[in-house]
Symmetry: C2
Subunit: 278 residues, 2 copies
DNA sequence: TATTATTGTGTACTACAAACACAATGATTT
DNA sequence: AAATCATTGTGTTTGTAGTACACAATAATA
């Protein structure tokens, strides 16, 4: 028995139409209208990626968010997966288009599969003139988090968004869909990952001070650490080099600058070094 | 420019057909033919789940595999997601239909998104008489691993498989698609999870001996542990109860039996206890 | 009854984590 | 120029957890 219920099932009911020219080199350029009406000819339906892009500035952990046109609601930058594209490639492509950066530390952390992940159920509709869209279907999204150097990022909104901005992790507003939940899960994963990866390598500028590195760990963990023990532990990893330079300009005593020593770092990683900070 | 290339894009090109009666209570029963030809009317396309079901028997870690009819190739038991179903529900449903068990410890560990995850690219075709199927499209799969009590499982093949059997983790054959890779990743996740969850609770029978628990950890970690230190650490968690009973029947001195104490366990979990065994 | 493989238990040593204090510095104030 | 201030740089002590290790007790077997 067939019968109308929601848009929900639209893009699972399929007739026929072949396309070509989907090689990696040649990604189609779609107009907004084409994207909503014919995006399913190019992208996988029912599945997307969302990026939680972390940065660190002014001693605060930040996350890069997009503001939608018209509704002015905020969301995580995400994207869709081309038919022949690796899901991680899609995440990298999205990341590059939002930040301008290549070669970013990227980590998949969870797939979100609630059946309510459907735009129409949350009052989000396609632009005027478009009745049905693959985008109104239920989506499962795979979350990635990225660690980027704040100062190198040039945030770029996409065609659907008003702006692209850093938000203090403590001040993130209510986001669309389950994006607050996704962000929370990303933070949890990042915290766990602290023990296996020296996140400062990606989040801090090349030269940084020990207090800066400590603030970074403190904001991610959400608690204070003992200055002396922190330094002892970090230096014991033997992946940092202390420069003969001090950070000038701040009030009070000028702290030494450090940088990650790539050779030492690789050597340490080979030995499966543990970055244990709790 | 439109042109025929592969089956690849078939189910992303969609016309129209609504269905109803997709409520959770009423799952449609499809014939094999219907499943291949019309499954996309009921399930999400391009996305699946795969379960890595771990058991423990004869001092060996085991995994439950399915053998396909005709080709006799082995694979992980998996499934598809109903349009209105939570992805985790789909994993639970699949798990129940393979093992007969409810209430299983289940953990999502990774989403596999290689564009080569396409059955036609691996010489797997739909049954005779079916030319095109949503199942021949590229799939992204979300991996879950489950921990079950070996003796309680009654393996049940599905309609497409010849048999459903336990395999010693060391002797798993070459599986279809990237299923060996998925299994490997599941094992890695399980190893990491050892530090946060007392896996013996789900993998062992209610009553078990300390040597059995130790073998479990040893097979998962792939290395020997010191008997005395192991016991000390485990007992220090204060989640086990030693019974006034010994395991009879083995050669040599009869070891004490233990069981998990649910009350102690919950108390310990609240305090965020660490199960640190390396 | 002797033998054998395995279980049950405790102690010394080492490495890492946590707590803690004071001198040195560079900018700022007086 | 001198005093003040907040912060940096550094080392010791104590406690806890991990590692290495040995011998007596036991249940089945020879």
């Amino acid at each position: 028995m067939c019968n109308i219920n929601t848009l929900h099932n639209f893009y699972r009911h399929t007739f026929f139409l072949y396309i070509s020219g989907m090689g990696k080199a040649k990604r189609p350029k779609l107009s907004t209208h084409e994207f909503f009406e014919k995006g399913h000819l190019h992208y996988l339906t029912h599945i997307s990626i969302d990026n939680v892009i972390f940065g660190f500035h002014d001693n605060q952990l930040k996350v890069l968010l997009l503001e939608w046109k018209e509704t002015h609601r905020w969301c995580l930058p995400g994207g869709f997966i081309f038919a022949d594209e690796h899901i991680e490639e899609a995440a990298i492509r999205s990341l590059k288009s939002r930040t301008g950066l290549d070669n970013i530390y990227l980590q998949q952390f969870y797939a979100f599969g609630d059946p309510n992940r459907e735009r129409t159920k949350h009052g989000i509709s396609p632009p005027a003139g478009i009745k049905k869209s693959w985008l109104s279907e239920r989506f499962i999204t795979v979350g990635y988090y990225a660690l980027v150097e704040f100062s190198k990022v040039v945030p770029k909104p996409d065609e659907f968004s008003e702006s692209c901005q850093w938000w203090d992790i403590e001040k993130v507003p209510t986001l669309i869909l389950d994006h607050n939940h996704i962000l929370e899960k990303a933070l949890q994963s990042l915290r766990l990952n602290l023990n296996d990866y020296p996140v400062g390598k990606d989040l801090l500028p090349q030269k940084f001070t020990m207090p800066e590195l400590q603030r970074l760990y403190e904001t991610i963990l959400g608690k204070q650490l003992d200055r002396r023990n922190f330094q002892k532990k970090i230096l014991a990893l033997d992946i940092l080099e202390r420069l003969n330079e001090r950070k000038q300009g701040g009030a009070h005593k000028a702290p030494f600058l450090y940088k990650f020593d790539q050779r030492k770092y690789e050597k340490a990683m080979k030995q499966g070094l543990k970055f244990g900070l709790q």
